[in-house]
Symmetry: C2
Subunit: 463 residues, 2 copies
């Protein structure tokens, strides 16, 4: 697909240079807006307005919506007021809001000035909702029906007003703006008697979200109920907008990306990586790096405390990274599993005992098998092949290997239990569980595994 | 929502004990299938069949689809042949396939025996496609139209056959089974002239997927094009099925979970965490733990090589965990960002030079700020407050702190560059980039940071 885009771009560029505008137009109209936008985004800024003006009005608006903010801004700055108005008239309100959120203030003022009064009101209303709330991603263009309409009248109403609606397939039945029920076009088409009233076929078991609900919850409801659209109501159950499945998909993707970034100790950003400056990326990455670096002071202190012990048996130092990494990996396996389960609503805090019990059993299995494998590996590789224990005279090499393996098993157990409980407590206390992932767990587990290591070593070895 | 489920469950249980079946039924019919299924999944096995039989046929089938495989199997085993047939008749083919994939062979045979012959053929066809292919998640119940129909005839056809179709809103125009175009119910309803032919209003710019395309690509197409359904064609462009947005959403969620699991060194599983046994979880976690443990041999060897140097200046050991962790975190930030970008098709291999250049600049910013902060922190905390350098006589404490901070800056640079390039090369070579995440990067970066540490130390310190 990506290479296809590059080829297409070269063709278009050539046609543009040769001024074959009608051929260009013929090609573009066969394409999908998202594909045209991908090509336009890569075009030289100077060529963009000319190319864009070749598109017929509706395709132009659909393409505009799919483009990157940088290219959108460039185009808007080049538009005459009339051209801007034409684009705005074709946009859905939620798309207009998305664009406005990315534009500098001067461009926003121009957009609001050119938008039809009705759209301007809707835009301002949606902009008032907090970021990431259901209200901020909804659109106000839905089909509403009165409960007393007949099926035939409803179909007529849809035919008359449907062209400007984001979806016509789910219609909302309202009385005095209050949401009474939903009826789908499928229901309407499959009702054989045209005189049946909407009231008698509508479904009154309506699942709606509140304007202030979090967008993540909204996306979860789409994935649970398989809805095509979800109504958004205010505190008085009055219908104020709808959210369609395509916007829910975007939210799902965005939220998964956010979770992944948080798990990797990155402060999430809505901007795609390729269009971020190194300074912006630095700003999102440095806070956690700093915090985790400073908290490594604890591991430093622990090692310093055991400095004299370590200087007596330096070979113990060689296994510190392996112990810390294995414990860290074990812990992050558990934490990441729980974090994802919480995100998908598959796990909740009340499952905590069951989870700890399960992770304990997993940890015993993992710890034992790792300890056995580790014993074999050290014996074969480090003792026999590399001869790393040749200069050790203070204690039996087998005792030292034993200490390492026992430490491994214990730290894996600790790591798994810490890894599974921390995200659950974070959730319970209202923090974001995703932050309790690998880097955070690693820092705690590092200190734990050193303490266990030196504790076990002091117990069995003459240090 | 979860608490709401528990309360509902208690109410239902009480009503069930009191044998108030009609009240029970009255409550259940107002509920959404997904919510009923959530409650049923938590019910005692013995009560399940009775409760299930209270549901009206269609709601029963819709609820059945939403239930966990364990509960489904339990119900099927209790069904008479006639009951099983009733459920199957209400199911969509793709849902039936999903259920069959989770059932043991004996149950599968019963299902296939009771399914209508047409459904059986479709099920068998879908089961033939490789796992995770477009063919394996499609359904064969779509509305097809002949190009020569008029709008009025098409609407009549939809009204007649639509009840059994997964979606009626996107209709596929075919001639001799070959896909010619698509037409939506919106197009049909908004066409004012009933005698217009389908051919003249259909969109011929059809985006379709092949039966063997990967489901991840399919999900990406939904998120790119905002489709409600996507046609699936065979090698001869014959329409064989459709995939609807709700299935694409499930795939998106599944693929994100898989990526997250792989990034945490877990072998992905389709089973939810809460229904996996500790042994199953162990099987998914132990392979990477073993591999990463064994590969830590390298860090062990490096430390052993510098044993005598370390024994001269033991304080150097105290900073090994901080250096390794900070480098590991820096590397995984870069790798996870690139892996997610690749998954979302925002990044491709050809961007490699641009990415390395960007990460280099980010690394310089991160490395310098971390080094400065680290210098200050060691000076303040370790030197002044903790007095960790009190016994160091071999070299100036400032020189040692300098060595640590220079190492930090260099390893952050290495980590970021390794972190961003490995996933790109993995993708290029046809491996899964997600495997190149934190644990893998950490192992490489650990060894690198130790080499840099001892290298820089040997250069500037008398060891």
């Amino acid at each position: 697909m990506a290479e296809h885009t590059i080829i297409m771009q070269t063709t278009l560029q050539k046609l543009l240079e040769e001024k074959k505008y009608s051929t260009l137009r013929d090609i573009l109209v066969t394409m999908n807006p998202a594909d045209i936008a991908a090509i336009f985004d890569e075009m030289e800024a100077a060529r963009l307005p000319l190319l864009y003006r070749l598109l017929p009005k509706e395709l132009a608006a659909d393409t505009f919506v799919e483009m990157e903010p940088e290219a959108q801004e460039l185009l808007i700055r080049g538009f005459s007021d009339a051209e801007l108005k034409d684009v705005l008239d074709e946009l859905f309100v939620d798309d207009a809001v998305d664009i406005i959120e990315e534009m500098p203030a001067t461009v926003v003022r121009r957009i609001l000035a050119q938008a039809a009064p009705e759209m301007r009101t809707s835009i301002n209303e949606i902009l008032r909702y907090p970021e990431n709330s259901a209200g901020s991603i909804m659109t106000t263009e839905y089909v509403d029906l009165s409960p007393t309409l007949t099926v035939a009248e409803a179909i007529t109403r849809i035919r008359r007003t449907g062209i400007d609606k984001e979806t016509i397939y789910t219609c909302y039945v309202i009385r005095n703006r209050v949401l009474m029920g939903v009826v789908t076009v499928k229901d309407l088409l499959l009702t054989s008697d045209d005189d049946t009233t909407i009231e008698s076929i509508m479904s009154t078991n309506v699942i709606a979200v509140n304007t202030h609900d979090d967008q993540e919850e909204v996306a979860q409801m789409f994935s649970k109920y398989d809805f095509m659209a979800l109504p958004v109501v205010d505190a008085e159950n009055r219908l104020v907008g709808i959210i369609t499945f395509d916007d829910a998909m975007d939210v799902m993707e965005e939220e998964a990306t956010e979770d992944i970034e948080k798990m990797a100790a990155i402060i999430p950003s809505e901007k795609p990586y390729m269009s971020m400056t190194p300074f912006e990326i630095w700003k999102n990455r440095i806070p956690w790096l700093m915090l985790l670096m400073v908290s490594a002071t604890f591991t430093g202190i622990i090692i310093s405390r055991f400095e004299s012990a370590l200087s007596k048996l330096v070979i113990l130092t060689a296994f510190i990274p392996m112990l810390m990494d294995t414990a860290g990996n074990s812990g992050s396996q558990a934490s990441v599993t729980i974090i994802r389960g919480l995100s998908l609503n598959e796990i909740e805090f009340s499952d905590i005992l069951q989870i700890i019990w399960k992770e304990t059993r997993v940890a015993v299995l993992c710890g034992l098998s790792l300890a056995v494998a580790c014993f074999g590996k050290i014996l074969l590789v480090d003792y026999l092949i590399l001869g790393s224990f040749a200069e050790v005279t203070m204690a039996s090499p087998f005792l030292i290997i034993g200490v390492i393996c026992v430490t491994l098993a214990i730290t894996v157990l600790f790591a798994k239990v810490v890894g599974c409980t921390l995200p659950l407590f974070a959730k319970k206390l209202g923090f974001d569980p995703a932050v309790m992932a690998s880097p955070f767990i690693t820092t705690i587990v590092d200190a734990l595994s050193l303490l266990v290591y030196f504790g076990v070593a002091s117990l069995f070895l003459p240090i």
